[in-house]
C-alpha cells in the first residue's frame, strides 16, 4: 500500500561539516492516508527536524521521502502538497487577518475576490467571524491560532503539519483547539503529522504515535499500544509518568516485584527486568497486603487525590479517584497492583 508520507532511512545533519552530529539518525516510518500521526518526544529528540523534512523546509542528508508513492526528496515545499502551522504562528505582521488567510490562494494565482470569499469561509469554519480586518497584533493568542489554522487549511493540502500548535495556549483553549483540530482532520480526511512534547495531547488526538528519542524512533503504535505495552524503559517513562522498579523474571514467565507477582501481557526473557507501573495502577489496601507503605504527601486535585507513599521499593506516586475515604498523612497501608497500567520491559 502507499502511504501519505513515507520516510526511508532518513538521516539529517545540520551544516555542511561532515563531523557535525546527526539530528536524525536513520528513521523509517509511514503515515497512512487520512490518519493523524503524532511525533512525540522530549525536546532535542529530532521531532521538529522530521516535521520540517516532511514540509520540505529541510532536506535530508541521506534517505528518501515519498508522498503518495512519489519521490519528493529533492522537491521544495511549494512542489509538495503540504501545509504547516507554526509554533509561533508566523502570521505576517503587515497583513490583516483575511489577507493572511488568502495569501496561499493569491500566491497560487487565484483572483482577489474569490480568494477573499474562500478566506472568509475558511475563517468561519475555524470559528473566527468578524475579525477579518484586524491586524495580527490586535488578536489574542487563541484568535491568532485560529487564523494560523485557517491559513494552513485554505489550500486544502493533502498533508497538514503541526509544530507544537497548542504550546502557546491556556489549558481550556488547548482542549478546545485540540478537539477542533481532530474534528477538522476527520471531516476533511486529512493526513496530519503533529509534533508535540505533551503525551496527554498525543494520546487524545492521535491515530498513531511515534515516540522519538535522540534522533531515533523509540517505538510507534496506537495510543493504547503505546500506553499499555511500552517497549522500552524510555517509552514507559515518557508515556504516562510510569515509575520503573527493578524486578526479576522467572522461567515460568511471571515477574517478581518485591512481594508482588505479576503475569505480564508480553513475554519477557528470564532475568533482571524493569516493571513500569502507572500511578493509577496501584490499589490501596487499608488492611495491609502487598507492599507496605506509609503516606508521606497528599494533594487534592479536584477529581482525584495524589498520594506519595514511603515503601521498601522507594517513594511510590499513586493517583486515587476515591474522594470519600481520604487517607491521613502517616497512615500505613498496603499497595497492590491492578491488572492494567503495569508493563514489563527489558532492564537497561
Amino acid at each position: 500500500m502507499t502511504f501519505g508520507v513515507e520516510f526511508k532511512n532518513i538521516t539529517k545533519r545540520y551544516g555542511t561539516d561532515p563531523a557535525a552530529p546527526f539530528a536524525v539518525k536513520g528513521v523509517s516510518f509511514g503515515i497512512e492516508k487520512g490518519t493523524l500521526v503524532t511525533i512525540l518526544g522530549p525536546s532535542g529528540c529530532g521531532k521538529t527536524t522530521v516535521l520540517r523534512m516532511i514540509s520540505g523546509l529541510e532536506s535530508p542528508t541521506s534517505g528518501q521521502i515519498f508522498m503518495d508513492g512519489r519521490d519528493v526528496t529533492t522537491l521544495g515545499p511549494a512542489e509538495r502538497n503540504v501545509s504547516m502551522m507554526f509554533q509561533s504562528y508566523a502570521l505576517f505582521p503587515h497583513m490583516n487577518v483575511v489577507e493572511n488567510v488568502m495569501y496561499g490562494l493569491r500566491m497560487s494565482g487565484v483572483p482577489k475576490e474569490p480568494a477573499r470569499a474562500r478566506a472568509v469561509e475558511t475563517l468561519r469554519n475555524v470559528g473566527l467571524v468578524g475579525y477579518d480586518e484586524r491586524m495580527p497584533s490586535e488578536l489574542s493568542g487563541g484568535q491568532q491560532q485560529r487564523v494560523a489554522l485557517a491559513r494552513a487549511l485554505i489550500l486544502e493540502p493533502q498533508i497538514l503539519l503541526f509544530d507544537e500548535p497548542l504550546s502557546n495556549l491556556d489549558a481550556r483553549l488547548r482542549r478546545d483547539m485540540r478537539e477542533e483540530i481532530r474534528a477538522i482532520q476527520q471531516r476533511l480526511k486529512l493526513t496530519v503529522a503533529y509534533v508535540t512534547h505533551d503525551q496527554s495531547e498525543a494520546l487524545a488526538v492521535s491515530d498513531v504515535i511515534i515516540v522519538m528519542n535522540d534522533g531515533l524512533i523509540a517505538q510507534s503504535g496506537t495510543p493504547q499500544e503505546m500506553y499499555e505495552y511500552p517497549g522500552s524503559e524510555f517509552v514507559a517513562g515518557f508515556m504516562g509518568e510510569a515509575m520503573l522498579f527493578p524486578g526479576e523474571s522467572g522461567a515460568d514467565g511471571s515477574v517478581k516485584l518485591g512481594p508482588l507477582t505479576i503475569v505480564p501481557k508480553q513475554k519477557v526473557e528470564a532475568g533482571a527486568v524493569k516493571v513500569a507501573v502507572r500511578p493509577e495502577a496501584w490499589q490501596i489496601n487499608r488492611d495491609g497486603g502487598g507492599v507496605a507503605g506509609t503516606l508521606r504527601k497528599r494533594s487534592y486535585l479536584g477529581s482525584f487525590f495524589e498520594y506519595t507513599f514511603d515503601t521498601p521499593l522507594g517513594n511510590i506516586f499513586v493517583v486515587s479517584p476515591d474522594l470519600t475515604n481520604v487517607l491521613d498523612i502517616g497512615t500505613d497501608v498496603g499497595l497492590s497492583l491492578a491488572n492494567h497500567g503495569v508493563s514489563v520491559v527489558k532492564a537497561g
Binding site: 532536506s59 511549494a78 505576517f92 505582521p93 495569501y103 496561499g104 491586524m135 497584533s137 490586535e138 494552513a152
Partner: protein, 736 residues
C-alpha cells in the same frame, strides 16, 4: 498543482535563444545597442549571434545555442537528477565555449602568443561582448544553476540556486577578477618578473610603518595614520549615529522628528568635499574663525585645521548619517515588549536601557562601527581637501598611480594593507558577535509600547545631538552662502554670477538651450545614478537575503567576496576597472556602463549590510510560512520580505543613489569628456580656484538630491506593523 515544474526552465531557454537572435551580439561602439536593433541581420558589428556565426565566420559563437539545445533535451525528463545532467552539461558547455573563446580570441585574433604559435594567426577577430552575448550567457548561467538545484543542491530551490550563481558570477567578474588583477601588481618586480620578495620589500617600507609621531617626530607611517583615523571615525560615527537614532525614534516629538531626519540626511546627499569646503570657509586660513582671531587677538592665520583634525571632523560629518540610518532601522525594529518585560521585572528605565535596549542594539552597533571604519579607510575626498600634509593610504595610492611616481607596485602594496585592515575589523566583528540573533519582529504580534528613554540619557542626547546638528547647519550655510558671494575672504558682495555660469538657460530658435556649463555633467550624473541605484539596492538586498536566509555549500566564500567590495578603496577599484575592462571580452572603458557598474559594486556592501541587519530582525518562520503556502521563493521575497524590509530598502536606495551622485575616488579614472560627472566637474573647478561655481553647483546638487530622496521615501512608504501607537497609552492621573 497549477505550477508546472519546468516553466522557469522553458522561459530561460526562450530567453537564451531570443538573446542569440534578437540582439546585436557584440558591444556597439559610439551608440547604444537599442539604436541598432533594425540592423541585426546585417553588418559585421551590429549583427545578431546567428549572423555573426554563419555569415561572418565566427563559428565558435554557435557553442552558445548548442549548449542551450543540450539543456533543452532535459525537458523530456521529469524534474530530477537525470534532468540535472542535461541542464548542467548544456549550461556548462555553452558557458565554457563562449567564455573561453571570448578570452582566447580578441580584437586582434588570438589573445595569447602560444595560440598563435600553435594554430597560426587567426584572420577573424572579435570585439567586446554586447547585449546579445550578455543575455545568452545569463541564460546559460541560470540554466546551469537550475541543473545544480535539480541535483538537490540549494534544497532544490530554482530561485535560490539561480540567484546565488548569478550573484557569484557578477561578483567574480566585477570585483574578484579586476581586483585580483590589480593586487597582483604588488608581486611584480621593477623588471616585470614575479617575485615574493617584491611585496615583502615594499611592505617593510618605513614610510608605511614608522611611529615617529608618538616620539615627537613629524609624522607617523601612513598605515598608522589610516588606522588611528579610522578607529576614531568609526567610534565617533557609531556613538553619534546611535544617539541621533535614539533621539529621532524615542525622544523627539513628532514635530521635531521630521526636521531631525532631514538634517541628519544632509551630509549624505552632498558630495563629501562640500563639508570639507564649508569647514575651510570656517576654519581655513582665510576662514571666518582665523580672520576673527586675527582681528581680535592679532593671531596670524595658520593652517592649523588641515591634517588629522580636519579629516576627522569632516569624516564625522560625512559618515555619521550612515550610522544613523543603520541604527534607525535597528531601533525601530526593537520589540517594545522586551523593554516592558524588563520594567515588569523591576528594572527602572535607566537599567532597562542599559541591560536590555542597548544589548539588543549590539548587532546594529557592530555593523555601524564596521561601516564607519571601512568608510574612513576608503575615503578619498576629505583627506585630499582638508588633509594637508597628513597622508592616508587611499590618497597615497592615488598619488602612487597618478602622480609623478607612477609606482603600480607600491599602489598595489598599499591596497593590500587596506584590504587586510578591513578584513581584520570584519573578522573582529564576527568573532565578537558570533551568531547572535535578536529576532524582534516575530510572527506573533507585539502589542507593546516603546519605553520613553531615561531622563539622564535624554538630557545627554539633547545636549550632544542638537549642538551637533546646529554645527552641521552652520557648515552647510557657509557652503551655501559661498555660492552667492564674489570671492570668499576678500569680496563679500552678493552675486548670481556663479549660478548663471553653471546653469544658465536660454530661449533659442528651437526652444530651450541649456547654456550653462554644468548641465551636461548634471544630466549624465542623474542618468547614471538613477540607473545604478535600484540595481544596487536590488542586488544588495538579494545578497543579504541569500546570506541570512539560505544555507548552501560555499556560502562563506560567497559572503567573503560580497563583503570584499567594502575593503576595496574607490581609487583601487577605479584603477582595476581600467586595467581589466579595456580589452575584449569585456570592453567597457569610456562608456557610461562602466560608471554604472562601478557605482553599483562600490555601493553594494551598504545594501548588503542594511539588508543583513534588517533580516536579523525578521523571524525566519515568516518566510517559511509563506513557502509552505506554496508561494515560490520569489513570491515570498516580494510579498512578505520586501514589505517588512521597507526601512532597509529605503536606506539602500537612498544611500546608493546619493553615493553614486557624490562619489569621487572611483570614477575619477573612469570619466570621459562625454561622460563627465558632477563631482569631477566640481573638483575641476576647485582645482582652478573657482570656488564660487563649485559651491553654486553643490547647492543645486543638494536641492535636486533632496527632492529625489523625498520622492523615494514617499514612493516606498512606511512599514505597516500594526503596533499600537504610543499616543494610545493610558494616561496616568494622580488621585486628587
Amino acid at each position: 498543482m497549477n505550477k508546472h515544474p519546468n516553466k522557469a526552465l522553458v522561459l530561460w531557454l526562450g530567453v537564451g535563444f531570443a538573446g542569440f537572435l534578437l540582439f546585436p551580439w557584440y558591444a556597439i561602439q559610439d551608440t547604444a545597442w537599442y539604436y541598432v536593433l533594425p540592423e541585426i541581420l546585417a553588418g559585421s558589428e551590429t549583427a545578431n549571434g546567428l549572423v555573426q556565426a554563419l555569415a561572418n565566420g565566427r563559428y565558435w559563437l554557435l557553442l552558445g545555442p548548442l549548449g542551450l539545445a543540450i539543456a533543452g533535451v532535459g525537458l523530456i525528463y521529469p524534474a530530477g537528477r537525470l534532468q540535472a545532467r542535461w541542464l548542467l552539461g548544456g549550461g556548462l558547455a555553452g558557458l565554457l565555449g563562449l567564455g573561453g573563446s571570448g578570452f582566447m580570441i580578441g580584437a586582434r585574433g588570438w589573445s595569447f602568443e602560444w595560440l598563435n604559435s600553435a594554430f597560426g594567426e587567426l584572420a577573424i577577430n572579435q570585439f567586446g561582448m554586447g547585449m546579445g552575448a550578455f543575455v545568452v550567457l545569463l541564460a546559460l548561467i541560470v540554466i546551469s544553476a537550475f541543473g545544480l538545484a535539480r541535483r538537490g543542491y540549494f534544497k532544490g530551490d530554482l530561485f535560490v540556486a539561480s540567484a546565488v550563481i548569478c550573484c557569484s558570477a557578477l561578483l567574480a567578474l566585477f570585483i574578484a577578477y579586476p581586483v585580483a588583477k590589480a593586487l597582483s601588481g604588488a608581486f611584480l618586480t621593477e623588471e616585470g618578473g614575479w617575485a615574493l620578495s617584491a611585496i615583502v620589500d615594499r611592505i617593510a617600507d618605513s614610510r608605511i610603518w614608522n611611529l615617529n609621531c608618538l616620539g615627537g617626530g613629524v609624522q607617523c607611517g601612513v598605515a598608522w595614520n589610516t588606522l588611528f583615523l579610522a578607529l576614531a571615525t568609526a567610534f565617533g560615527t557609531t556613538v553619534l549615529g546611535t544617539m541621533m537614532a535614539l533621539l529621532a525614534e524615542r525622544c523627539a516629538g513628532p514635530r521635531v522628528q521630521g526636521p531631525l531626519r532631514v538634517i541628519a540626511l544632509l551630509p549624505i546627499i552632498t558630495p563629501p568635499f562640500v563639508v570639507g569646503l564649508g569647514l575651510i570657509l570656517l576654519f581655513g586660513r582665510a576662514g571666518i574663525v582665523n580672520q576673527f582671531l586675527e582681528y581680535a587677538f592679532d593671531i596670524t592665520p595658520t593652517r592649523w585645521f588641515y591634517g588629522i583634525l580636519g579629516i576627522l571632523v569632516a569624516q564625522l560629518f560625512a559618515f555619521t548619517p550612515i550610522a544613523f540610518m543603520i541604527m534607525r532601522g535597528v531601533v525601530q525594529g526593537l520589540a517594545p515588549s522586551l523593554e516592558e518585560a524588563a520594567q515588569i521585572l523591576h528594572a527602572d528605565r535607566r537599567k532597562t536601557f542599559f541591560t536590555v535596549t542597548l544589548p539588543l542594539l549590539k548587532p546594529g552597533l557592530a555593523n555601524a562601527f564596521l561601516v564607519g571604519f571601512i568608510e574612513s579607510i576608503a575615503d578619498f575626498g576629505n583627506p585630499i581637501v582638508v588633509g594637508g600634509q597628513f597622508s592616508v593610504l587611499s590618497t597615497d595610492i592615488f598619488f602612487a598611480i597618478v602622480g609623478a611616481q607612477f609606482d603600480q607596485g607600491r599602489a598595489a602594496t598599499l591596497a593590500w594593507l587596506l584590504t587586510i585592515f578591513a578584513l581584520g575589523v570584519f573578522a573582529l566583528q564576527r568573532g565578537l558577535l558570533g551568531r547572535q540573533n535578536y529576532t524582534t519582529v516575530s510572527g506573533k504580534g507585539d502589542s507593546g509600547i516603546p519605553m520613553p528613554l531615561p531622563d539622564g540619557l535624554r538630557y545627554t542626547l539633547n545636549a550632544v545631538v542638537y549642538p551637533w546638528l546646529t554645527f552641521t547647519l552652520v557648515v552647510y550655510l557657509f557652503a551655501f552662502v559661498g555660492g552667492f558671494v564674489q570671492t570668499w575672504g576678500r569680496d563679500y558682495t552678493f552675486t548670481l554670477r556663479h549660478f548663471i555660469t553653471a546653469f544658465g538657460i536660454e530661449w533659442g530658435q528651437f526652444g530651450i538651450v541649456w547654456a550653462g556649463t554644468a548641465w551636461n555633467s548634471m544630466f549624465t550624473t542623474l542618468k547614471l545614478s538613477g540607473i545604478s541605484a535600484p540595481l544596487t539596492a536590488a542586488v544588495g538586498l538579494l545578497i543579504a537575503y541569500l546570506l541570512s536566509r539560505t544555507d548552501f555549500r560555499g556560502r562563506n566564500g560567497f559572503e567573503f567576496v560580497a563583503l570584499l567590495a567594502f575593503a576595496i578603496p574607490g581609487t583601487v577599484l577605479g584603477v582595476s576597472y581600467i586595467l581589466a575592462f579595456n580589452v575584449p571580452p569585456v570592453e567597457l572603458t569610456g562608456t557610461g556602463l562602466i560608471i554604472v557598474i562601478c557605482f553599483m559594486f562600490r555601493n553594494l556592501p551598504v545594501g548588503v549590510q542594511a539588508g543583513t541587519a534588517a533580516f536579523k530582525q525578521l523571524d525566519k518562520a515568516l518566510d517559511e510560512a509563506s513557502l509552505m503556502l506554496r508561494a515560490t521563493t520569489a513570491q515570498t521575497l516580494f510579498t512578505i520580505i520586501l514589505p517588512l524590509l521597507k526601512p532597509a530598502l529605503v536606506a539602500a536606495l537612498v544611500y546608493s543613489f546619493a553615493r553614486a551622485m557624490t562619489t569621487v575616488s572611483a570614477v575619477i579614472f573612469l570619466v570621459t569628456a562625454e561622460n563627465e560627472l558632477a563631482t569631477t566637474y566640481i573638483i575641476g573647478r576647485v582645482g582652478n580656484g573657482d570656488y564660487g561655481v563649485a559651491l553654486a553647483y553643490c547647492t543645486v546638487l543638494i536641492l535636486v538630491m533632496s527632492l529625489i530622496i523625498a520622492a523615494i521615501q514617499w514612493l516606498v512608504g512606511e512599514r505597516k506593523l500594526g503596533r499600537r501607537k504610543g499616543a494610545a497609552a493610558p494616561v496616568m492621573t494622580a488621585p486628587v
